[in-house]
Amino acid sequence: MGILIRFLSQALPTLLGAVTILFLLLRMIPGDPAQAMLGADATAADLARLRQDLGLDQPLWVQYGVFLHNFVVGDWGNSIVTKTSALERVIEALPSTLMLCAAAIVVIIGISLPAGVISAVKRDSWIDYGVSLAVFLLMSMPQFWLGLLLLLVLSYWLDWFPIFGAGEAGDMLSQLHHLVLPALTLAAGFLGLVTRLTRSSMLEVLGRDYVRTARAKGVREPVVIVKHALRNALLSVVTVIGLTMGQLLGGAVIVEVVFARPGVGTMIWDAILQRDYPQVQAAVAVFAALFIFTNFLTDLLYGLLNPRIRV
């Protein structure tokens, strides 16, 4: 019940705002949007039909009403290039992108949490400095460049990984093989943030009284660190990982393009280059909805992890 109220009061208005921005975006196109989409050699009849399809001949507030209505009922228009439902195309491309993001999250958690915990426990040691340096370099390296370097060295020169695509449909092994480099690249941009935050939260938590209590009980050090300290440090780390998930979607666009991997990211890219605005709109709307949804889930997860605010 509380969840529903929080969803209605927080996530829904933001979603409405995001949709409004999308509505405005299309109207921001300088000159005639229909002309911009169809190109200079479009016939007058084609232009007129597209204008009518998009409702461009109506007053702005009517356009907005129609837009909202169509959005709610799932009628998001057709791709100008393929003439098929823009929303359906996005939904078809989505699993590949979500798999990429999920794999990146696994990499982030698998590397950042241990690295952050170890550098906090061994603070000011060589391991700590090494982790800090690595993290700093990763934070300063653009994802698309890192991706290109990985491609060049590991795929072209060493031939360890495939060069493009997402792998054979139905062949799990091939798909995983194709997933490794993109997931590493996507994760790389966020490793720094999460590692730094894990380290600083751990440092703070390790100084807390209850950690001393656990030691006074005779609890062994690894258990003290993982159960008592990390469990509490996770509260803030989970929040950041959750917010990171949303940004991963943005990173996925670049990573998918670098590795020529099919997905919503490459779809947005193609659509922009082809001025297929309804398609751009549909894909961006899905990304925004996912983004808002993961932020909302993060909120819920934080509540679940923290007994003090559990509802």
Partner: protein, 324 residues
């Protein structure tokens, strides 16, 4: 045989100016079934003494730099971590000052008490649960079944401290160190908790080190007292004689600053000791109390006084006392 004997203990911490001793030359002993009170202002080294005994000085910031802590015939200084862990919570336990922050907010009371048994290899089964319930009853927690499933923030301060005590008693330790166990509690709850510790001491034959800044508590609940100031013990003796005939100016000052029921005439003001405790970074060759002392002599600034027996079992470290 003496259960715990601390000899010439020194613990230092890293400061901007280099390592500095927070406690220096601390010696005392505790027998089974006895309550030793350690009393002093904050910063006097009481808690550092307790944490040193537990081996809980964070190696990143400090270390025991000298002396010995003999517990049941074994020196705890230099013991391997695994050996210390086997003792902690089982033979030596500690109750901390602020139960809300000393309990982990993410786990239930039952989990946290049961964890003592898990840590010492007894597993988390039904037997452990039964023992946890037993402990909660021992410390007079009403509705132990309900408390078991509660999180620390869901119960009152008094209940939390009882739960902490239950945790400390899991294995009926030989030595219980209570570091200001009632400072964070209401006055009425204070008496309940202290009476509980006192009763358990008698029933279970515990040796207790009761650390406090409240000399009123010392009078009521301890057998012997060590008064600490600036990282040293300045006076020690049986509670009764020390409180009725204090020899060290600091002890005298502490007693004068406490309101005593009935003993206070209307209009009489409580006396405070002027000044503050010197910081551990100050290197003082003489008595660390000298700057605040009404009886300061030139010798006090030059040479640190040693503990010298003044009455049966009672010793003070003071040049003025010695001259008197």
């Amino acid at each position: 045989m003496t259960l715990l004997s601390v000899n010439n203990l020194a613990t230092e911490f890293n400061t901007q100016a280099g390592p500095r001793r927070a406690i220096d030359g601390v010696s005392f002993s505790v027998e089974r079934g006895e309550v030793l009170g350690i009393v002093g202002e904050s910063g006097s080294g009481k808690s550092v003494t307790a944490l040193s005994i537990m081996g809980l000085i964070d190696p990143q910031v400090g270390r025991i730099s000298g002396g010995s802590i003999t517990f049941d015939g074994r020196d705890l200084v230099g013991l391997k971590l695994a050996e210390l862990q086997a003792l902690r919570g089982k033979r030596i336990s500690m109750v901390f000052q602020e139960p809300l922050s000393a309990l982990n907010p993410c786990f239930t009371i039952g989990d946290q008490i049961g964890e003592v048994f898990v840590a010492h290899g007894d597993g988390a089964g039904a037997a452990t649960r039964a023992r946890v319930l037993e402990l909660l009853k021992l410390v007079h927690i009403p509705d132990p079944e309900g408390i078991l499933r509660r999180y620390p923030h869901e119960i009152s301060g008094g209940m939390r401290q009882r739960a902490m005590i239950a945790m400390a008693l899991a294995y009926t330790p030989d030595l219980l160190i209570a570091d200001e166990p009632t400072t964070a509690l209401d006055v009425t709850i204070q008496a309940q908790v202290l009476n509980l510790i006192d009763r358990l001491r008698q029933e279970l034959k515990l040796a207790v080190i009761l650390i406090t800044h409240d000399i009123g508590i010392v009078a009521q609940y301890t057998d012997r007292v060590a008064v600490m100031y600036g990282g040293r013990i300045v006076e020690t003796g049986p509670a009764e004689t020390l409180l009725s005939a204090p020899r060290h100016p600091y002890t005298i000052g502490l007693l004068a600053s406490v309101p005593r029921l009935g003993a206070r005439r209307p209009g009489e003001r409580l006396q405070e000791i002027p000044g503050t405790v010197p910081s551990i970074t100050e290197i003082l060759p003489g008595c660390r109390f000298a700057s605040r002392c009404a009886h300061r002599m030139s010798r006090c600034d030059e040479q640190a006084p040693a503990l010298v027996e003044r009455a049966p079992g009672q010793a003070a470290a003071c040049w003025w006392t010695e001259a008197a």
